[in-house]
Symmetry: C2
Subunit: 683 residues, 2 copies
């Protein structure tokens, strides 16, 4: 349930699809304009009204790194997870001042520090633009359809967000192409770290405990949004309530689930199971191993690689969970039965036709190009910089409607920010990632494949990675800025080896994208729109779309689940951490815990579970009670939740959250922050 | 098609099963007492007679490291693969004298050097003991059945091989329990390396080219069997014929395929696909990554870890191939259809009953214990030593018939040899393997599992591995010898931390073995015997048993296959290696190739392919022509052969061999060995 899971999941899931069976109790990542109030009222005897929903929506924050959060004071204070800020802490750390290990607790606001590349966004308006977009695509197919759609999307985004300093527009595809909506955001580009505990407190139990429960993790941190050098005023914010949750009480999780694939058709699921997921398991596991040994060389590397390793291990666990789900005959049988039922209900409806076969045919075509598309470019921040610079230079010479995604007028500001914000670059880590990805490309494509020859020429993955990383100057933000500002002429004239290399790969990568658009994206988008129609026709309006890293609300309750014949308790206490500690990593108590043991109220509720339906990207989401107060921050799911990508099982799937009671205890006695305590208590 | 594939395959394949459909053309790993001469004659117009078979059988050598080989002179000279001796070369290397990198080419026989742990074996007699063993098991089930069977096996082996210096007896289970045969071997415990090319010549193309074709690899080496300090006289040997193979000519591969699982039932295949293989992919990939980065630290580590990395990468490719096969609907559909057919043909036969359901039930029970059984003990040579010492001490106090496998009178000599032969131990590598395996145990069992607590106590995988490896003295063969000789008293008194640790884990591991015997081994053995009966009843006598690392003969022909609409040529030439070389690893030419380029006859046939049905363990097998001469040594399979574990496809599966013509060229011009040239040419 971590940031990187979301980002990496996108590799294997190029396109979100839509759901094909009616939602179970507590299932659903609902959009705010279609909250199923009646259904909730039937189950819970109560449901929020529009005013409640509007207030909550205005307090919900999306972090562009791939997390969720919420405003919890009128002065721009943001609650999120520690693991959503650990990259920021690492970027701000030095050998002498390790903010990951030691935490960050400034004496006052003036010492709050800017997180490179971070941006906070709040939804201000949602507009249905389905008719507009579908009109633009009418009568088209293949590449023409994709071009027309993308051009119309770029135009709508550009027209509605002329102020690119403080607003952002995004057209979102819902139900896999059934609906298109324009989301408008108020954005904050200056986000600073305001408080973070020690890593050892936030991630106690480490990878072994990740996606497991019971947990004893203070996975919480505070950020603050700034503008013009001052904290922003945020009238809309959640009320902080540092109380323990009650068993059975209704809870809402409000955040941005990144991606689900609940309504993949059988042919798409087969492709996941047979091809995509095994490759991900295998290659990510090797990367994990490479990182572990490379970091073992020195404490400095341990620190520098920590965030990357965490992301890889987290993603890997997600894919191990997906593998289990995809190989579980009962689970897969239910998905197959749902498809069979929808097909039966849609039989003879000429408007719907046979989208399943259309998708199957597209999947067959995609299989033929999959390895090439997957291994078209190497990993690493330096290559990412080079590729973005090369592409941006070319794209910016085109009209807005003809540009690649990421380079339209509305996308460019964030692309530029991510490219130019200063961030430390660790050459050993860059080299490791490049070498790994290039050697995997050669392994899966074969040494004789033309694309392998394009990627490597006569060099080895090791030699090429070493040469590019040691000779490029792109680690310097000023060099990047000069190339960005210099545009196409500067890119063409550059002799920086990483730029030269990105130029060499660009045409092939663009051709693969075009082929993907033609053989997969266009027909699948059209077919999924039909599937959405089929589903609405069969099951009525109360359907939620697959997750798309846009704002959703999930309702559920504080509840355990049955494991090996016993009910798992809903909460842990802070005292439990002391019992679980072994003295060996990752079960070493954080220093401040040991030091303050006598003062800590061990009965304080620490982490707790609820039935809310969430997924990667929801990390940091506020857990909200009936009164609209925040009582926790979601940071993980239990092991059963890993199948949640494909389907929700209310008997087993659980959200794991850190309680506001525990955060309050930390703010008062473990990592004292009297200023924040006061700010959170303000009426 | 490499040594380690065989060894590691055993992890996921605790029990070989039997085949359920009639053999296709060229399919089959036949036992010498059931060669399908009629079938071959029908296809090829010729088949070998008994004298031909007897001669060949007496020349075939099994290497206990997991490879095959053959005598090729009257003075004990053995042809095998380079990758079968690379461990020996590494063990004999020092920083100043790297026999892996430089090859080994002694001026004369007196400089041939003993390979630690290596033993060569030649079958002298095969006796059917089915009635004897089945009689002992009669009326029993569960643990009692396994005990009775093992006791009778131990007794037969002991009675028939009283001279344990030069003979070895093994009772082999064939057809998964349908037959039991006693194999008697002449054994040679002093095996020396006589000639090996540079690693870069033997493994040109490295992992990217492994299991691929076309190939340009001189994967050949010579060993020599000694007794009493002198080369043994081997009247039975193959005639060396350094000629190119002819397209379409009949070829025989004679060797010891390690393990196939061609007749797993659907429930066993599902278990492989859903559980066992994904875990292997994931954990081995991580080990690979850990090794790659750890070896990157220094040239010394690169050398010390090379053989281990090779083994891991080789196994991994095997499992990637199995994953593809298990996820190929056509391939799996054929296996399912074969089972359906056999069930239909057996319906109503009360003698056969329903072994499929019995196996399914056993698989269900095995699923429950699988993770515990898989992660019961750590990896590493030092731990292996400790565990063998602890077990041997206890087992040797028991009557022969009650001992664990590996510790019966007939097994003890090899166990002792493997334990006491001097071999270099690399602490960093030991620590890496222990740490990896212990961290995987914790990951898959969970931090709270009792077995995790048994394995780790309050230590971390990293801390425990570091402590045990740095403090144990078991790297010293004299220390191991003292503990071996001291027996149970010495083991109980030992304070060596690795011995203490092995003692701690032993009871749990034994309990798991007992549970496995009861819930899986006993019922599956009984059910597989029924399946064998069903198969003989349905398809007649001409059936081959699954591979069991015992001597088999496969017939086929030199032939290409269709790939992307084109026929792959049957052979490569030595000149092709010069064209393929890029100057970057693993495509750097061996030094002696570059140095002798002008002298080398580039038209010499290098590697070639044939339809022979082989698998891991066959590495080093002689490829024999109709005249009974050796014309190559099998060293690999093409990528399609990786599904061969589950089934053979004659259109696609190919054996890859190095030609005797190429070896001869190497002996004459690249790594000149006039003594061997003369010896091989002797009449």
């Amino acid at each position: 349930m971590k940031t990187k899971a979301l980002l990496l999941a996108a590799i294997a899931a190029p396109f979100a699809a839509l759901a094909t069976a009616p939602a179970q109790a507590d299932e659903g990542m609902w959009t705010f304009d279609q909250f199923p109030a009646e259904q909730m009222r039937a189950d819970y005897g109560w449901a929020p009204d529009q005013a409640w929903l509007d207030r909550v929506r205005a307090s919900a924050v999306r972090l562009t790194g791939g997390c969720s959060a919420s405003f919890v004071s009128a002065e721009g204070l943001i609650l999120t997870n520690h693991h959503c800020v650990v990259g920021c802490l690492a970027n701000l750390s030095t050998g002498d001042d390790d903010l990951v290990a030691n935490g960050f607790n400034p004496a006052d606001r003036t010492e709050e520090r800017k997180c490179p590349g971070q941006q906070a966004e709040v939804v201000t308006k949602i507009t249905d633009v389905t008719a507009d977009i579908k009109g633009a695509m009418k009568g088209l197919d293949g590449e023409a359809l994709v071009k027309a759609r993308d051009a119309r999307v770029a135009a709508i985004e550009s027209e509605n967000c002329s102020d690119r300093e403080t607003t952002r527009c995004q057209v979102v595809t819902l139900y896999g192409g059934g609906q298109y909506k324009l989301y408008q955001y108020r954005k904050y580009s200056d986000v600073r770290i305001a408080w973070a505990p020690e890593f050892q407190a936030a991630f106690f139990g480490g990878d072994p405990d990740n996606f497991n429960y019971p947990r004893y993790a203070l996975d919480a941190a505070f950020l603050r949004a700034y503008e013009n050098g001052k904290p922003v005023t945020t009238k809309s914010h959640l009320k902080w309530n540092p109380r323990a949750p009650k068993d059975g009480e209704a809870t809402f999780v409000v955040g941005n689930p990144g991606s689900t694939q609940r309504m993949l058709t059988q042919s798409q699921l087969a492709f996941q199971r047979e091809v995509a997921v095994p490759i991900t398991l295998t290659t990510l596991s090797e990367l994990r191993g490479r990182l572990i040994s490379a970091m073992d060389v020195s404490p400095e590397r341990e620190r520098e690689g920590g965030d990357t390793l965490f992301g890889v291990e987290n993603s890997l666990k997600v894919y191990i969970g997906r593998t289990k789900a995809l190989n579980d005959p009962d689970f897969m049988g239910k998905l197959a039965a749902a498809e069979t039922e929808l097909r039966a209900k849609s039989a003879g409806n000429a408007e719907i036709g046979d989208p399943w076969s259309a998708i199957e045919s597209a999947v067959d075509d995609y299989r033929d190009m999959y390895l090439a598309a997957r291994f078209d470019q190497p990993s690493g921040d330096l290559y990412r910089y080079a590729s973005a610079l090369v592409r941006a230079a070319a794209e910016r010479t085109k009209p807005n409607g003809e540009r690649l995604r990421g380079y339209t007028d509305s996308d460019l500001p964030l692309t530029e920010k991510r490219l130019l914000d200063a961030q430390p670059v660790h050459p050993w880590l860059e080299e490791l990632r490049m070498e790994w990805s290039l050697s995997k490309a050669r392994e899966y494509l074969g040494a004789d494949h033309p694309q392998t020859k394009l990627l490597l020429g006569k060099e080895s993955p090791e030699g090429l990675a070493e040469r590019l990383v040691s000779e490029t100057k792109l680690a310097d933000p000023a060099v990047r800025k000069a190339l960005w500002d210099g545009g196409q002429a500067a890119i063409e004239a550059s002799t920086d080896p990483m730029i030269v290399y990105a130029r060499r790969l660009d045409a092939n990568a663009r051709a693969l994208q075009k082929r993907f658009d033609t053989v997969y994206d266009a027909p699948v988008t059209a077919a999924q729109a039909k599937l959405a129609d089929a589903r609405f026709a069969a099951y009525g309006d109360s359907q939620y779309p697959d997750a798309t890293f846009t704002l959703r609300i999930s309702y559920g309750k504080v509840a355990g689940w049955m494991e090996n014949g016993e009910m798992v308790p809903t909460r842990t206490t802070m005292g439990g951490a002391f019992e679980r500690a072994t003295g060996a990593q990752p079960f070493v108590l954080a220093k401040a815990y040991s030091a303050n043991e006598a003062k800590i109220d061990k009965a304080t509720t620490y982490d707790f579970i609820s039935t809310n339906d969430i997924i990667g990207g929801n990390s940091g989401s506020p857990v909200i009670d009936r009164a609209g107060s925040v009582i926790g921050a979601a940071f993980d799911g239990n092991i059963h939740s890993l199948g949640g990508n494909y389907g929700y099982d209310g008997n087993l799937n659980r959200t794991v959250s850190v309680s506001t009671a525990a955060i309050q205890e930390a703010l008062e006695t473990i990592y004292p922050a009297p200023g924040l305590v006061k700010e959170l208590a303000a009426k």
